[in-house]
Symmetry: C2
Subunit: 467 residues, 2 copies
C-alpha cells in the first residue's frame, strides 16, 4: 500500500501493525523457545529472552514445562530481569523463586520498586523471608519489613515509598531545578504532591501543568486542592473505587496524622481491578482463585471444597423429593418434569444474584436503593414467572395430556421465580451486611433455596391436588 | 489523638480520613438531596450539587426517582457540569438527555474532550444525532462525525484527538517553551509522542523525564523507542490487553500509514477493563448487560431470552428422563437421587468453564497450551469424579439400603464429571475458534450437556443393571 522511504531513522514499520498479535509474545516465539531448549541452543535462547519485554518473558516462562523452565532460568542466570518476577502468576513465580534461591531473590528484590518487592516478598513463607532479609542491606530490609507491617490488601501494601513532594511556597522553576538535580526519584510519576512544613498533603500538581506553567509561578498557584489522600489502612478495593470514580492517575498515601508516606499509581490499580473482577467471577463459580497454572491434585482439592458443599445441598434437595416418594410413584410424569422448575428458578435467581454481586462490588447498590432494587427484582421474578408458567404449563399439558399437571407446574414456576428474585437480592445483601463476601457464599445459598422451593412447591402442590 | 494547630492554610483535616466513605457520595448527602427536593429548597439543592465532584453528582442523579431527577435538572439548568453526562449509566443518561434536549446536549458536548463526546453521541438514535449536529460548530461536527466513522469498540472510538507530538530534533528546552505557549492542549497528558516529518511515531517521552532532563538535551536522546502505536482499528479489548501487559499510561493511535492521529489514556482503559469484566460476569449468568438501572419490563424482557433458552434445555433434559419412565416407576429412589448427578456435573463443569472463559479473555489460554489445559481438566474431573462417586454412592446405599443403586450412582458420577471437565474446556475453546464469544454461549451448552449426560448415564445404567 505505502512505499517504504529510504529513511534510516524510522524505527516503526511503514504499515501500522494489524492487531495485538504484532505485539506481545507470539506463538512463533514460543515455538522457537521450545526448539531452542530441546536443541540446547543457548545463544538462540538468550537472544529470544533478550528480545522480549519483561511481561512477555514472564508469559513465556508460564508457557514452558517445569523442566524447560529450569533450562531457561539456568541459561539466563543473573541476567534474568527482576521485573519478570512481578509479572509471573503466583504458582509459577514460586517455582522460579525456589530455583533461583534466597540469594538470587534478594539481589532481584533490591532492584525493584518497593511496592513490587513487597508484593513478591509477602507471598513467601516465614522461613524463606528470614533467609532473604539477612541478605539485604539494612535500609532495604526496613522498607520490606515496614511494607509487611501494613495490613494485607491495604493501601500501605500497595503503595510505593518513592514519591515526589514539594512545598507550596516553591516556584515552578525551583521545582524543576530540584527534580533535575535530585537522586532517588521514582521511575515513573505523574503528579507532584504539595505538602506543608509538617509533611501534610495540601494539594497536587499534574506534571503537564508544571511543564506548562511559567517558571516564576508559585506551586500554590498552580496546584489543585481537591486532593484525596488515602489512609494507609484503606482496603485496596476502596482505593480502586476512588481511582475509578475520579479518574485518578496517582494519589498520595498518608499516615494517621495525615503525613504523606507514599503514593499509589494507576498501573497498580489496574491489577487490583483485574483481581477484583476475577475474584467475583471465580467465587460465583465456587473457585478460590483462577487455578489455570495449578497442578492437577492441588486444583482438584481446591475445587472439591465447593463441590462437597454442593453435594450437601443436592442431597438436601433430594431429601425434599424423598418426602414425596408416594406421590412420585403414582405419577412418574412428575419425576420427568420436576427438574424444569428447579432449573428455571436457579437460573433466574443467578441472574438477579449476579447483578447484585456486581453492583455491590461497584458500590452501585447500598442501603439507600436496596429496597427499590428488591422490589424491582420481585416484580421481574413475578412477571417472568407468569410468562414461563404459561409456557411450561402448556408444554406439560401437551406432553402428558393432563391439564392438572400443567396448572400445577405453572403455579410452582411462579412461586419459585418469585422466590428466586427475592433470595437473589436478599441473600447477597444480607451477607454484605454480615461482612461476608457476597460473591463467595451467595450462589450456594441461592441454588439451595431455589432447588428446595422448586421441588417442594411442585411436588407439594401435586400431592395436595392430584392425589 | 493529634491536636489541631492554628494553621489556616491546611485544607485537609488533621486526622486522616478513615475510609472511602469520607469521599464520594454519602448516604447523608443523598438524604439531604431527597429532603431538599421534597421541600422545594432550590438554594440547598444547588449547594449540594455544587459541592459534588461530577462523578458523585452522576451517582446522585442515578439514585433519584424520575420525578426527582427532573426537579434537580431544572434547578441546575445550564449549570449542569457536562462531565456528569460521561459518568452516568446509559439508561439514566438517556433520561437526562431527553430532558435537556438537543440544544442543551450540543452545548454540553462541545465542552467535553472528543473521546467523551463521541462516547455519549454514539448511543443516540440517528434522528437525535442529526438534530445535534446542526447545533454544533463545523469543526466540532467533523470531530464527532469522524469519531463515529471508526468501528464500534475500536481504538479510534476510544481515543481523544487532542495529543501532544514533538519532533525528535527539538531540545527539551524548546519542547517546554512550546508547551508553555501552545493553545489547545489536552487537559491531562502523561507522555509526549515523538514524530518524524511524516508524522509517524518514533518514540515517546514520559513527562517526568522531560522535567528531569537538561534543557539542552535533545528529545531524541531522552525518548524511549519501544513505543507501541495502536492502529485505530484495534479492538478495545486488545488495547486494554496492551495497557495491562506493559503497564502503559498513554499510547498513540495511528492511521493506516502509521501517522499519529490521537491517543488513548489509562483512565479510558480502566473503564474498558471494568466493562470487559462485567461483560464476562453478566454473560455467564445469561444477562445482556447489568440492568441495575433498567425498568421492570425492559429487565424482565431482556432476561427472558436466556430463560427461554434454558427452558428449552431443561425440557431436553426432561425428554431424556422421559425415556426411562418405566425404570423410574419401578424404583422411585432413582427419581429422588437423579438431580444429584446432574447438579454435581453442572457445578464441576461451570468451575472449569469459568477458568477457561477468564483465561481466554486475559489471553492466558491459546492454541499452544490448550491441549495441556484440556488434559489437566479431564484429570481433575476424573479425580474428583472418583472422590464424589464414593461419597455419593455411600449416601445412596445408606439411604435406600441398596448397594446396586450406590454403585450405579457412583459410576454415573464419574462419567458425568469427566464429561464436565471435557466439555468445560472444549465448549469455550470451540466457540472461541468459531469467533463466538465463549462467555455468552458456553454456560447453556455446558449445562445442557451435563444435565443430559447426568440423567442418561444414571437412568441408563439403572435400566441396564437393575431391571
Amino acid at each position: 500500500m505505502s512505499t517504504s522511504p529510504p529513511d534510516q531513522e524510522t524505527v516503526q514499520p511503514d504499515a501500522a501493525p494489524a492487531s495485538v498479535d504484532d505485539y506481545g509474545l507470539s506463538d512463533a516465539q514460543i515455538e522457537r523457545a521450545h526448539t531452542a531448549i530441546e536443541a540446547g541452543d543457548i545463544t538462540q535462547l538468550e537472544e529470544i529472552a533478550q528480545s522480549l519485554h519483561a511481561a512477555d518473558l514472564a508469559d513465556l516462562i508460564e508457557e514452558l514445562t517445569t523442566d524447560e523452565r529450569v533450562i531457561l532460568l539456568d541459561t539466563l542466570g543473573g541476567a534474568l530481569d527482576p521485573e519478570v518476577l512481578s509479572y509471573l502468576v503466583p504458582a509459577v513465580r514460586q517455582d522460579v523463586i525456589e530455583h533461583i534461591g534466597p540469594k538470587g531473590l534478594a539481589a532481584a528484590l533490591s532492584e525493584l520498586e518497593s511496592d513490587d518487592a513487597v508484593e513478591i516478598f509477602e507471598d513467601l513463607d516465614d522461613d524463606f523471608q528470614q533467609r532473604i532479609l539477612t541478605q539485604l542491606p539494612a535500609g532495604y530490609r526496613l522498607v520490606l519489613e515496614e511494607g509487611l507491617a501494613f495490613p494485607e490488601a491495604s493501601a500501605g501494601r500497595l503503595m510505593q515509598r518513592e514519591v515526589v513532594v514539594v512545598p507550596a511556597g516553591w516556584t515552578v522553576g525551583q521545582t524543576i531545578d530540584f527534580m533535575r538535580s535530585a537522586q532517588d526519584m521514582p521511575d515513573d510519576f505523574y503528579d507532584l504532591f504539595v505538602v506543608d512544613p509538617k509533611h501534610k498533603c495540601q494539594g497536587y500538581v499534574p506534571l503537564s501543568r508544571v511543564l506548562r506553567a511559567k517558571r516564576a509561578a508559585k506551586i500554590s498557584e498552580v496546584m489543585e486542592t481537591d486532593v484525596r489522600p488515602i489512609p494507609f489502612t484503606m482496603d485496596q478495593e476502596e482505593v480502586a473505587y476512588l481511582f475509578r470514580q475520579y479518574g485518578l492517575v496517582s494519589t498520595p498515601v498518608v499516615d494517621d496524622s495525615g503525613r504523606v508516606i507514599g503514593m499509589i499509581t494507576v498501573d497498580d490499580i489496574v491489577h487490583v481491578i483485574d483481581e477484583e473482577a476475577e475474584d467475583d467471577l471465580m467465587k460465583l463459580a465456587g473457585l478460590g482463585e483462577s487455578d489455570l497454572y495449578g497442578r492437577v491434585l492441588a486444583t482438584a482439592k481446591s475445587r472439591a471444597t465447593w463441590l462437597t458443599v454442593n453435594l450437601g445441598t443436592a442431597v438436601l434437595a433430594s431429601l425434599v423429593i424423598g418426602l414425596f416418594e408416594a406421590t412420585l410413584s403414582q405419577a412418574v410424569a412428575l419425576a420427568v418434569l420436576m427438574p424444569i422448575v428447579a432449573s428455571m428458578g436457579g437460573n433466574a435467581g443467578m441472574q438477579t444474584l449476579t447483578v447484585a454481586v456486581r453492583a455491590l462490588a461497584m458500590k452501585d447498590l447500598s442501603a439507600t436503593n436496596a429496597v427499590r432494587f428488591i422490589g424491582k427484582e420481585c416484580a421481574v421474578g413475578a412477571f417472568n414467572g407468569v410468562v414461563f408458567a404459561v409456557m411450561t404449563g402448556a408444554v406439560a399439558w401437551l406432553w402428558f395430556g393432563r391439564a392438572d399437571i400443567g396448572v400445577i407446574i405453572g403455579l410452582a414456576m411462579i412461586v419459585n421465580m418469585l422466590i428466586a428474585g427475592l433470595s437473589g437480592t436478599l441473600v447477597p445483601l444480607g451477607l454484605e451486611k454480615l461482612k461476608i463476601d457476597p460473591a463467595v457464599a451467595s450462589a450456594v445459598f441461592l441454588t439451595t433455596i431455589t432447588d428446595v422451593v422448586g421441588f417442594f412447591a411442585f411436588l407439594g402442590l401435586a400431592a395436595l391436588f392430584i392425589l
